[in-house]
């Protein structure tokens, strides 16, 4: 195999037809600036049209194309072939989620948990206008950074606590909860804190930082979860209102 080609082992599985998943191997010519997304598109467009995967924006903003690429959850669009340092790539669906077909996973469990933390903002009734907050206020800076989540599910696929406990809310949902609990404009912060303070909420996180390691937006959900734990305790003692 020449250096101008890449060997892609792609996970194939149709839960309604196949007893066992299999790997199909394709050899693909490498192009300039080739992302893994280009690899799966090449296979689907020109080699095996039955391949299934999900993609939308193709530039790292929508979080639709998370896959398990050479042993790590990543966005296919933002993983350059050249960055893998090998001419062989194994592409599998994101772990911890049901498979619709091949590389396309069913994100429903992820979003069901997202909904459980009441992910929507409920403004305080007295706030009639956009609040005046200086951009250098410490707390706001930390929230703003954590708001960049694109719900791609990489963290969810990497989290070993999600892997062992299917009820665990997971890093993304808890991170979202934190951004609302820390948002002083919101009026149901205590209610939300109670929703995440349950057994299958923040307490299942054991600070392994798997989520932070794979987050394509460089967020650190572990940090958000720690902040939530702290606030749960404060709330218990009546310090958080």
């Amino acid at each position: 195999m020449s250096s101008q080609e890449i060997k892609a082992r792609i996970f194939r599985y149709d839960p309604e037809q196949d007893v066992e998943p299999r790997f199909d191997v394709y050899t693909i010519p490498v192009i300039k600036n080739m992302a893994i997304l280009d690899v799966v598109f090449h296979v689907q467009n020109y080699i095996d049209k039955s391949l299934a995967f999900r993609c939308s924006c193709r530039i790292g903003m929508c979080g639709s194309c998370a896959m398990y690429i050479n042993g790590k959850p990543r966005l296919a669009c933002r993983t350059q072939v050249s960055s893998l340092g090998t001419s062989e790539v194994t592409i599998m669906p994101l772990p911890n989620l049901p498979i619709i077909r091949d590389l396309a996973t069913d994100m429903e469990p992820f979003f069901e948990k997202w909904k459980k933390i009441k992910p929507y903002y409920v403004g305080k009734p007295e706030l009639k206008d956009p609040v005046v907050i200086r951009p250098d206020s410490d707390e706001r800076e930390f929230i703003d950074q954590m708001l960049d989540c694109i719900t791609c599910g990489c963290c969810y696929g990497a989290c070993s606590m999600v892997a062992t406990n299917e009820d665990y809310l997971g890093p993304a949902a808890l991170n979202r909860a934190y951004t609302l609990v820390a948002d002083k404009r919101d009026s149901i912060r205590v209610e939300r804190l109670k929703a995440v303070g349950r057994s299958y909420g923040v307490w299942r996180c054991h600070d392994q930082f798997n989520c932070a390691e794979v987050c394509p937006k460089n967020l650190v959900p572990t940090k958000s979860i720690q902040q939530l734990k702290k606030r749960c305790v404060m709330q218990k003692f009546g310090v958080f209102k």
Partner: protein, 576 residues
């Protein structure tokens, strides 16, 4: 086949679709809403991909009249002035609602008020934003609000619209046939009102900016249903699309704020070429002019080796660029370049359709029961859209579409759909599973992209447009003979999806090319190398609708100039 009855059916989950859903619910929580989206909710389409931000008048030194004038000036003065005025006067309300009710948090200035940054083509710094990736937050928060109202808003993900259902008279829309792409099953939705908000079809060009799933489905559906369109020739090319060879990354937009902040555009010879095209505004000129300038430099042989020009940010200081444009720096790093330090190769990229379904201020289209909002509609932006007015249109008109739909749904009865029409639609889209051999859709798809780029692109001429039209007609016939390789596989079949995309692309492309041939002048983003600007005869809009099975009926009517008269426009005599 599953049948669902509902009050309001919304197609699309971008800014317009999501906001419409919220407004239907908030107007009347008793109404049932079905929100069908081609990808995952809030993830597909382009609102999510908005980078720069949204234009809105918030400062007392600014005014909606100034914003209005900027909008029609940028739009080559053929905007529907009522729609343009609606955009600018609704925008502050929309931003207020996004902050106070939806929970967005836009970047703040030093004094703690919402920060407004500089965008091209505007007389005031009025673009609100969240760093340089604003769409993520706007759409994520709107999606969360839809989740909050899930008792009435039923979301169907990875469910694309196939065609609208109409009454026998053909003057009213009564629902749509959808396809659940996960199962491959069709669904009939019978609705009092249908809101179409699926976005444009700019992806039909070789170098293009939109998400891969946005293929003009809504427009094509509306065309087949017989709705009236306007100014379809008006295709915006964004001047700063990233060049990344054959990779899908190519064409993605490097945001307008880069030019707003003082970035330079330089050709292969190292010249700041905007001096030749708009010496006054230079890089901060409107998108149509900057894109055309870049294109002409490339065509004149003054481009880079891979057919682009350079965007240079380094002179602004790498720390400043990294801080203000982290998302852009990241993206450019994916292609192995440092935006804050070195020149980056760019090219004009097909970006946005100003043309679309003709609507009134309440988003009502020419067919009863059909409400259209966002990029699928026309008139707001005229011949060229200002950066920052795109998400503005999505959210302001999305709100209005929701209000209109709620009012209509309260008044109207649910009218029955026609079973024979459902059968016809079913046959139209499932026939590709029948043949054992036929046309491979992918080469056709690739050909459209090249054809549109070369013949209906940044610079146009009659001969090439005619060639494009005849080829598009031929391709339409060929695409009908396409087949799905794996005949028994309906679930998550991307090939079937692409066949449908391709047919929709061709449907929209035909309107674009025909309209471009009709407008025998240059204006805004429509530049004809064989015709000059004609302010005497061409302060007009081109209307189109379907005639017979697939023919196009056209009508040319004077612009809607209720606020800034044609005499005043003629006096300015702007040349493009």
């Amino acid at each position: 086949m599953e049948e669902i009855k509902t009050d309001v059916l919304i197609l699309g989950s971008g800014g317009a679709g999501l906001f419409a859903a919220l407004h239907v619910y908030d107007n009347n929580p008793g109404l049932d809403v079905i929100l069908a989206t081609k990808g995952l909710i809030g993830k597909c389409g382009c609102s999510r991909m908005v980078q720069g931000g949204m234009n809105v008048v918030l400062n007392s030194a600014d005014s909606v009249d100034k914003h209005f004038m900027d909008t029609i000036k940028g739009g080559g003065y053929i905007n529907d002035q009522e729609l343009a005025y609606t955009l600018v006067s609704d925008a502050p309300k929309a931003v207020h609602e996004l902050e106070v009710k939806v929970g967005c948090f836009f970047d703040r200035a030093e004094n703690g008020e919402i920060h407004q940054k500089a965008f091209a083509g505007q007389s005031f710094d009025r673009t609100v934003h969240v760093a340089d990736l604003s769409g993520i937050q706007i759409i994520a928060r709107l999606t969360d609000q839809v989740f909050r109202r899930q008792d009435r808003i039923k979301v169907l993900e990875e469910t694309r619209g196939l065609d609208l259902l109409t009454t026998a008279e053909g003057d009213r829309v009564v629902g749509a046939v959808l396809a659940d792409m996960r199962t491959g099953e069709l669904i009939v939705v019978n609705a009092k009102v249908v809101i179409v908000a699926t976005g444009g079809a700019s992806s039909m060009y070789k170098i293009s900016a939109p998400s891969v799933d946005k293929t003009g489905d809504g427009m094509a559906m509306c065309f087949r249903a017989g709705a009236e369109f306007c100014d379809m020739e008006m295709m915006q090319f964004h001047p700063t699309g990233l060049l990344a060879g054959q990779s899908r990354l190519s064409g993605s937009v490097l945001e307008e704020g880069l030019r707003g902040a003082g970035g330079y555009l330089i050709n292969g010879l190292g010249e700041r070429f905007m001096e030749r095209y708009d010496p006054e505004r230079m890089e901060r000129s409107t998108r149509d002019r900057v894109a055309r300038a870049g294109y002409m430099e490339i065509m004149a042989g003054r481009g880079t080796e891979s057919g682009g020009v350079y965007l240079v940010m380094g002179h602004l200081g790498s720390e400043f660029v990294e801080k203000k444009f982290p998302g852009m720096c990241d993206r450019v790093r994916d292609v192995g370049k440092e935006l804050s330090k070195e020149p980056v190769e760019i090219s004009p990229t097909s970006h946005f359709m100003m043309g679309g379904v003709k609507i009134d201020r309440d988003c009502q289209a020419s067919l009863k029961g059909l409400v259209v909002a966002g990029e699928d509609s026309s008139g707001v932006h005229g011949a060229n859209r200002l950066g920052g007015n795109g998400i503005g249109e999505s959210v302001t008109f999305g709100r209005r579409a929701g209000d209109t739909a709620a009012a209509l749904a309260e008044q109207e009865l649910l009218r029955p759909f026609r079973q024979e029409q459902v059968e016809e639609i079913k046959q139209r889209w499932l026939k590709f599973f029948k043949p054992t051999t036929g046309v491979d859709i992918y080469p056709i798809r690739d050909e459209i992209k090249n054809l549109m780029w070369e013949k209906v692109g940044v610079v146009r001429e009659a001969k090439k447009l005619q060639e494009a039209i005849s080829r598009l007609n031929g391709m339409y016939e060929e695409a009908q003979k396409a087949y799905v390789t794996n005949r028994t596989l309906r679930r998550f079949n991307m090939e079937w999806n692409e066949i449908m995309n391709t047919i929709n692309w061709i449907t929209v492309a035909r309107m674009v090319a025909n309209s471009a041939l009709l407008r025998k002048e240059s204006r805004g983003s429509h530049y004809r190398s064989d015709c000059k600007t004609d302010n005497e005869n061409w302060l007009k809009n081109i209307y189109m609708k379907k005639k017979g099975e697939f023919e196009i009926e056209t009508d040319i009517r004077p612009i809607i100039s209720t606020r800034f008269s044609m005499e005043e426009i003629r006096k300015l005599n702007v040349q493009y």
